[in-house]
Amino acid sequence: MDDKIQQFRYGLKDGVPIGLGYLAVSFTFGIMAKKAGISTLAAVVMSLTNLTSAGQFAALGVIQSGAPFVEMAAVQFIINLRYCLMSCSLSQKLDRAMPFFHRFLISYGVTDEVFGVSACREGVLSPFYAYGLICVAVPGWTLGTLLGAVSGDLLPARLLSALGVALYGMFLAIVIPPARGSRILAGVVAVSMAASFLFSIAPVLSGISSGFKVILLTVLIAGAAAFFFPVGEEQKGGKG
């Protein structure tokens, strides 16, 4: 019992940077939703039920154009398919003896950030740790949307700009420490960043949506790394 509370607390603590970063990003989303003619309530409901950045931004265009629901489903499927890879990865971090209903609850909160923090945690992932993260991330995302929609100029532009890097700072804090202890992981990180950069400047490639870019590069690079550097039992935890 104490362990559950402890895990939940760790989650809350690690969730703070996620919540702050979300606040900044969803603030922008709130402003744009309002511009797209969507009511404040609808924007907040969308953030609360979807909890996804790229998908929601893309949805604004779909709603504005009055496209068929099938098109909305297809757009979300492609942009958010990366969550499928993340959930596959997370499925291996969970305790097999854990009550099954936890899986349905954790699923709600599989975002890039919650996944990143959870997946790189040592050992088995406690659902309560994930709930801690979610309990900070969701209010950040929803509240930011509300503030952005209600008052676009509530936060000074410079503060928003600064908060914009919170999520990236957190990502770096996740990938760099294990890469320090492993040349393979360091290589994987470097190659991934270089490839991502190439995709953002090269003709044709730069036309690929960000969600699909993540899927494509993840399958290619993680696939190649797994082929050339298979991970043995003893190497888990980034010390290979």
């Binding site: 603590k13 703070v16 940077p17 702050l20 009511s39 609808a42 969308m46 979807n50 998908g55 949805a59 709603i63 009055g66 629901f69 909305m72 489903a73 958010n80 990366r82 969550y83 499928c84 993340m86 959930s87 990865s89 499925s91 291996q92 097999r96 899986r103 699923s107 599989v110 996944f115 990143g116 923090v117 997946a119 700009s161 914009g164 890097v165 919170a166 990236y168 700072g169 990502f171 770096l172 804090a173 996740i174 990938v175 760099i176 420490p177 294990p178 994987v188 470097a190 960043m193 991502s196 950069f197 953002s200 993540v214 590069l217 993840t218 993680a222 790394a225 797994a226 991970v231 888990k236």
Partner: protein, 104 residues
């Protein structure tokens, strides 16, 4: 806008939840295949790295403040600082640098 907004929201929320939920509920066993295991082990590192760069350079008002945030965060992460410390330091660097750039 012809169709009700809330139906759009329902559709997108449904699709997104299923994408997240199906793998977590369908894959109950531990995967034994070394290749698949290794692949899933590398997934978060690749995914996060792809999302960091070059997006961090575009996240702020100026490329330079984004680059400075990247350098500061990478340095602190290398030194083993916590998620919160690295993240807030990156924000602080951007805030201060953009303030200084405005003065010049």
């Amino acid at each position: 806008m012809g169709r009700p907004v809330y139906l759009y929201i329902l559709v997108m929320a449904g699709v997104t939840y299923l994408i997240r939920m199906l793998p977590l509920t369908l894959i109950k066993k531990e995967i034994r295949n070394t290749y698949v295991k290794s692949f899933l082990y590398y997934v978060p590192y690749v995914t996060l790295s792809v999302m960091i760069f070059p997006a961090i350079l575009m996240a702020t008002d100026s490329v330079w403040s984004g680059a400075a945030a990247l350098a500061a965060a990478a340095f602190l992460a290398y030194r083993g600082k916590s998620l919160f410390q690295v993240s807030t330091a990156a924000c602080a660097v951007v805030f201060i640098l953009e303030w200084v750039l405005d003065l010049i």
